[in-house]
């Protein structure tokens, strides 16, 4: 088999293993819930009959391996069960709010790249300058600041002290401008740390690439510095940054929970948070599952995007 294909199939296999492991882990966690999950869900005043009925509906009386298989079946078919509180399918509830979380995460990544990459490029092309040092201090401060602190401070400054932006909620359905305005502060709060990460990473990998012999070749042919940095070096330097972004999606999804709660936006975060408060664990499970799947999927996508950035990793016809 071709090395690249072998790599890809290996990567897919690991991904599949990770998904199976993650689902099993999620299932195992429910076993650790103290007390009968059905009675926990229904609250202390539920009648024993109601608890027993719910337990049966949830399959709690079956043997363990059967329950595990059932759980896998549910996950595979997307049938995550029905929410006992609202009586609606859990999958529908998750799918309803998923776009909000995905929008927020993409906006945050976009913002982080849009600010972080130029900042890193500037620092790398002026190493040791005053601007470079300012960028370094800014970057590390951004990285160190927990995003929920940023979110609360943004809320305090812009909504309470300055009273500038309507900040809470996701905006009126159909009013794109309103939705965009309400996206600003949450995505800034999420993106800030990543601006720091990306700027630092860009700086170091760009500095490394600028020392490569092929950059010297480009200089020896009189290609303008700007073109060397932004065309020839940037694509090489982007490879490690893309790798970090893959990891970043996971942390961003975690951070999105805070941004959603603090700015009262609908999303997976608020869904899971509300479910935690009501101890509605099937919903917690479903929300976490979706986040984990998204995370694994983006990591896979990131791995595949290497081949786009780095032709050396593509399947090839042979070397002359």
């Amino acid at each position: 088999m071709h090395p690249t294909l072998r790599y890809l199939s290996g990567r897919l296999l690991t991904t599949a293993l990770v998904v199976v492991g993650a689902v099993t882990l999620l299932f195992a966690l429910t076993l650790l819930v103290p007390g009968n999950p059905a009675s926990v869900l229904l609250g202390p005043r539920a009648t024993p009959e109601a608890v027993a009925a719910l337990a049966e509906r949830m399959g709690l009386d079956r043997p363990l391996h059967e329950r595990l298989l059932m759980f896998f079946g549910q996950v595979a078919t997307g049938n995550l069960g029905t929410d006992v509180i609202s009586g609606r399918p859990i999958l529908t509830m998750v799918m309803e709010v998923l776009p909000f979380t995905v929008t927020l995460t993409i906006a945050a990544i976009g913002l982080a790249v849009l600010v972080g990459v130029p900042l890193g490029c500037y620092a790398a092309t002026n190493p040791g300058s005053r601007g470079d040092r300012v960028a370094a201090v800014l970057s590390v401060s951004f990285i160190a600041m927990p995003n929920f602190v940023v979110a609360i401070f943004l809320l305090l400054i812009f909504s309470i002290w300055l009273d500038w932006l309507p900040v809470l909620g996701a905006g009126e359905p159909g009013d794109v401008l309103d939705q965009l305005v309400r996206l600003i502060l949450p995505s800034v709060s999420l993106a800030l740390g990543w601006v720091g990460y990306i700027a630092r990473l860009m700086r170091s990998s760009l500095l490394e690439v600028l020392g490569e012999p092929y950059i010297r070749t480009a200089r020896a042919f009189g290609i303008p510095d700007r073109k060397i940095v932004y065309k020839y070096a940037l694509k090489n330097a982007a490879i490690p940054t893309v790798a970090i972004l893959g990891l970043g999606v996971g942390r961003l999804l975690g951070g999105a929970i805070f941004a959603e709660i603090i700015f009262a936006r609908p999303g997976i975060g608020t869904l899971v948070y509300d479910a935690i408060l009501t101890r509605n664990y099937p919903v917690v499970q479903a929300g976490v599952l979706v986040v984990v799947l998204l995370f694994v999927l983006t990591n896979l996508l990131v791995d595949l995007s290497y081949a786009w950035l780095d032709p050396r990793l593509r399947p090839q016809k042979g070397v002359a």
């Binding site: 990285i143 929920f148 609360i152 996971g250 929970i257 499970q285």
Partner: protein
């Protein structure tokens, strides 16, 4: 040791980090002595007070002294961070060494386990577990340490692998040293450097996760003060007074900033090769 300290101190950011860390450790360790009030003492008539001589950081929604609560929160944050890192370091290192010496299947099993754990974003994982099992200080410590185990495990394994066939170990083996002795006496001291660096760089991560979980109400249970719960109380009453949010937010940021700067300076001083991971 003295050399490492000197190198950390010689960089401006390392020095700032060291000063912040020292300050925070001092405040946390001396919380009981330094607090002007009992952190739980209510003073409902004096709620939402602005900072003053009597209350350097003001009071919260129940009139409790914020300065005292923040000092105790510092103690909680440090305790959680240190115990979490200690557990993750111990378990991760053991698993890493085991992976390096295990037969291929065993090694793969451990690595896949690491992959699975890291496939959960740590905060989401912690959230799921605490949500299902109920809040509690020890649970937070346990869960967060589990999410950090792969971190240490992978580095430990890589370190051991690079060391495994070193001539001096070969010599020890020939001289009849048992595997336990080899690991304890010869391998551990040689792989500790990068692991200590990693541990120090994970401290701000753990502090942030603890504060985050507590902010969501699933971390450190009340009445124990945590920076996260303080932030949440302040957030809920943001319209009444900005002081709880400002004081706890600034303190939390100073702590993570201090530990981040310190950890990075330590990394640069001990093992600059680790620089690739953020």
């Amino acid at each position: 040791m003295r050399d490492v300290f000197a190198r950390v101190w010689s960089s401006p950011t390392g020095r700032l980090g060291l000063i912040l860390v020292a300050l925070i450790v001092l405040l946390g360790a001396g919380a009981q002595v330094l607090s002007p009030y009992d952190p739980q003492k209510l003073d409902v008539l004096n709620r939402f007070a602005a900072p003053s001589l009597a209350h350097p950081m003001g009071t919260d929604q129940l009139g409790r002294d914020l300065f005292s609560r923040i000092l105790h929160g510092t103690q909680v944050a440090l305790l959680v961070a240190l115990s979490t890192i200690a557990i993750a370091l111990a378990v991760g290192t053991l698993l890493g060494i085991a992976a390096a010496y295990a037969p291929p299947q065993g090694e793969r099993l451990i690595l896949v386990l690491f992959d699975i754990i890291s496939s959960f974003p740590s905060l989401v994982f912690a959230l799921a577990v605490v949500a299902l099992l109920g809040p509690g200080l020890s649970k937070v410590v346990l869960i967060v340490s589990v999410t950090l185990v792969p971190h240490f495990g992978r580095v430990a394994r890589a370190q051991v692998l690079s060391l495994k066939n070193a001539p001096f170990l070969e010599a020890e083996r020939v001289l009849g040293a048992g595997p336990v002795r080899l690991v304890l006496v010869h391998i551990l001291p040689n792989i500790m450097g990068p692991l200590v660096v990693l541990a120090s760089m994970d401290i701000p991560v753990v502090i942030t996760i603890e504060a985050g979980l507590s902010f969501l109400g699933v971390g450190v249970p009340p009445p124990l003060p945590s920076w996260g719960t303080l932030l949440n109380d302040g957030y809920a009453n943001l319209n009444q007074s900005p002081w709880p949010v400002v004081s706890s937010g600034v303190m939390l940021t100073l702590a993570t900033l201090g530990f981040t700067l310190f950890g990075e300076a330590l990394r640069d001083a001990i093992d600059p090769k680790l620089r690739t991971t953020p």
